[in-house]
């Protein structure tokens, strides 16, 4: 179920600013576990599961992904493009792409063959403005299919690796949309008193803009932001969280210390594995926007460890998604049975 959801949703285009095009796909998945939903003006989808008290808990995971935007239709079927969000041009070389134009158009991004490439050029990356999408259409046909401003993504199906590990594009942050779905499923079973707002936030990759307006609209008492973090890999230091060992709980000024402690206590009491991550200042996640909304929102940030961030082979463990989803459900259950005001009181 989890893998099917991610297979479907990771293949679907949700480039920042274009979330509304396929947003309705989310409804099918969240509807069984929630009561109402709304799309906001910036592009976020907010699914509400009503409770019995007045407390409002916002969960936030961004639905948007980095992508490409067409800047020019060239001769001989080529397109030039720019980036939406932070892309490493090196990760685009020799990839299949889909341009979401009047219809979905297949293309590839290649580079010059070796014989016109100087040896020293192999050591350099190719800048974005020297890469092209090759569509194979004559210009006059291509112009009818694709216009400047259309977006494109790498074409990638989710790949199963060993031990519940999967690789796909856009697992940043669909992995955490899957976490919310797990939480929603769990809470449907064990019931909850608080009102839960599952927010598929828009435009995180270009400055967590969806989280800013969604948190204004929801006006939550607390928020649980969900994102991915750099997972352990050969090129990383030993201090980063590992795949398969549970969510990384972020510690630092952006996060309410007592709420964070409550989550950690819950994990310890119910044997949910977790890891630590430290961020003294900005994290670049939805918490940046949510924490300072209105009069302020106490936040915690939980992250799924992920390797090769912002490539088309982002790699996570599904185990972490399940653990995190269930731990959050238990945490909400614990909050329901505590005095939230007391927890939040400094």
């Amino acid at each position: 179920m989890l893998k099917e959801f991610l297979t479907d949703i990771c293949q679907t285009q949700f480039v920042s600013g274009f979330e509304h095009i396929n947003g309705d796909k989310l409804i099918k998945y969240f509807e069984p576990y929630t009561d109402t939903y709304e799309k906001d003006k910036v592009g976020s989808y907010i699914f509400k599961a009503g409770g019995t008290n007045n407390a409002k808990i916002m969960l936030s995971a961004h639905i948007d992904e980095i992508g490409l935007m067409i800047t020019k239709v060239l001769d001989d079927g080529f397109l030039s493009f720019t980036q939406v969000g932070g892309i490493n041009p090196a990760s685009l070389i020799a990839q299949d792409v889909i341009i979401y134009g009047r219809e979905n158009v297949f293309g590839v991004i290649g580079i010059k063959p070796p014989h016109v490439t100087l040896a020293e050029d192999r050591d350099k990356t190719v800048p974005l403005d020297e890469l092209y999408i090759d569509t194979g259409y004559p210009k006059e046909i291509l112009e009818k299919l694709v216009t400047v401003g259309d977006v494109a993504t790498v074409k990638r199906e989710l790949v199963s690796l060993q031990d519940d590990v999967v690789a796909a594009k856009a697992l940043d942050d669909r992995a955490c949309v899957a976490v919310m779905l797990e939480t929603a499923k769990e809470l449907k079973k064990i019931s909850h008193k608080s009102n839960i707002y599952y927010t598929c936030s828009a435009q995180e990759e270009t400055g967590y803009r969806g989280a800013i307006t969604a948190s204004y609209k929801i006006n939550p008492d607390i928020a649980i932001a969900l994102d991915v973090t750099f997972g352990k890999a050969p090129e990383m230091g030993s201090e980063v969280p590992q795949l398969g060992k549970g969510p990384a709980v972020c510690l630092g000024g952006r996060f309410n210390p007592k709420l964070t402690k409550k989550f950690i206590d819950t994990c310890n009491n119910y044997n949910y594995p977790f890891q630590y991550e430290v961020a003294p200042a900005a994290t670049g996640t939805d918490t940046e926007g949510i924490q300072i909304n209105r009069e302020g929102v106490p936040c915690i940030l939980l992250s799924i460890p992920l390797r090769y961030m912002h490539t088309s082979v982002e790699t996570i463990s599904l185990k972490d998604v399940e653990i995190t989803g269930r731990a959050i459900a238990r945490f909400i259950n614990e909050l329901d049975n505590s005095d939230l005001e007391e927890i939040l009181c400094f």
């Binding site: 080529f78 070389i93 580079i111 090759d134 259409y137 090769y308 463990s317």
Partner: protein, 337 residues
């Protein structure tokens, strides 16, 4: 056309068995006599009218990777097999070994790269394959040192008449040669599916030795630098402009009289063609034309963009032109004098 099936097979140089088995089965279906030589070349014989010995060669192997080490956390180090630009390896899905274990080649997150790091490509010895295990022992259960690694890349038809696949160099040639053999032409020739072209044209050398041909045709997928910002005279070949007839490359100066003859046949039969204009690159023609006392040789190729990466692009029309032109060249060489 056998391009879809052929490009989906794995056949990194030295490990061509999937392609060889496919070709053997096809030859049996066609009813064509063949044998496999000591290096693994498949040598098929189309019997017919004969006034000289003709060898038509296409190589079965493709560029890829080979597993060289498994590190303490279960990540897999590799070396390149054949000429691979390190820049095409970033963010790829691969399959490893006979059991087709899925893996990915990732890259450090762009967020963590310092300024100058972003401008440098990652050298092959810093790249690795991730199969999702977290220990050396777990990886060792699934992957062995020496396992061959193939790009995972679907065959896709797109644009007006283009295809995208891995290994069009030289499954395009293999497919064309299978078509020629299935035509049952009344013209004698040996169809040779060679091994290890990408690592030094090893198979072609021994096959040419045992056949000792008078005239040879090499069928290839060849370089096309037909992209924006490349000057016309540097494009080597262009996609969609027909079969490419080689003038010279790093391995061979093609017999100019034979080249002109092939050109004339193309013109007379309205087959779109172009001359391959570059001294770079080499192919099986190199050893073939130097074996024993030599052989006249021509190369007729399908132009491929982004060659030696996982996303070769070629035109179906060009491919068909290669098949037609090769057929007529064989017939012309075996017609009664």
């Amino acid at each position: 056309m056998f391009l879809k099936e052929l490009t989906e097979l794995s056949g990194v140089s030295g490990n061509e068995y999937e392609v060889r088995n496919y070709i053997k089965n096809k030859l049996k279906e066609i009813g064509c006599e063949f044998y496999v030589d000591k290096l693994g070349n498949v040598i098929a014989h189309n019997k017919g009218k004969k006034n000289k010995k003709i060898m038509v060669a296409a190589h079965m192997d493709e560029v890829g990777l080979i597993v060289s080490h498994i590190d303490s956390d279960g990540f897999i180090k590799f070396q390149a097999v054949g000429g691979i630009d390190q820049r095409v390896l970033n963010s790829k899905v691969v399959t490893i070994g006979e059991n087709k274990i899925n893996g990915v080649i990732g890259s450090k997150a762009v967020h963590l790269m310092k300024g100058e790091e972003r401008e440098k490509s990652i050298p092959i010895d810093k790249l690795y394959i991730d199969i999702g295990t977290d220990s050396k022992s777990e990886t060792e259960k699934l992957v062995n040192i020496g396992d061959y690694v193939t790009f995972k890349s679907d065959y896709v038809e797109f644009g007006e008449d283009l295809i995208k696949a891995k290994a069009l160099d030289d499954r395009a040639g293999c497919s064309a040669l299978l078509e020629l053999l299935s035509m049952k032409l009344d013209a004698d020739f040996y169809g040779v599916f060679t091994v290890m072209e990408e690592v030094g044209c090893r198979g072609a050398q021994t096959a040419a030795y045992s056949l000792d041909p008078d005239f040879s045709i090499v069928l290839e997928g060849t370089v096309s630098a037909d992209m924006p910002e490349i000057k016309d005279h540097s494009k080597v070949t262009s996609i969609g402009k027909g079969a490419a007839i080689s003038l010279m490359d790093s391995s061979t100066l093609y017999d100019i009289n034979e080249v002109r003859k092939v050109e004339r046949i193309a013109v007379e039969n309205n087959i779109p063609y172009q001359l391959r204009k570059s001294s770079a690159g080499g192919n099986d023609a190199g050893p073939i034309h130097k074996t024993k006392d030599g052989s006249k040789v021509v190369a007729i190729s399908v132009p491929c963009r982004y060659i030696h990466s996982s996303v070769n692009v070629a035109s179906i029309n060009d491919y068909n032109s290669v098949v037609q032109l090769a057929k007529l060249v064989i017939l012309d060489n075996q017609k009664g004098e």
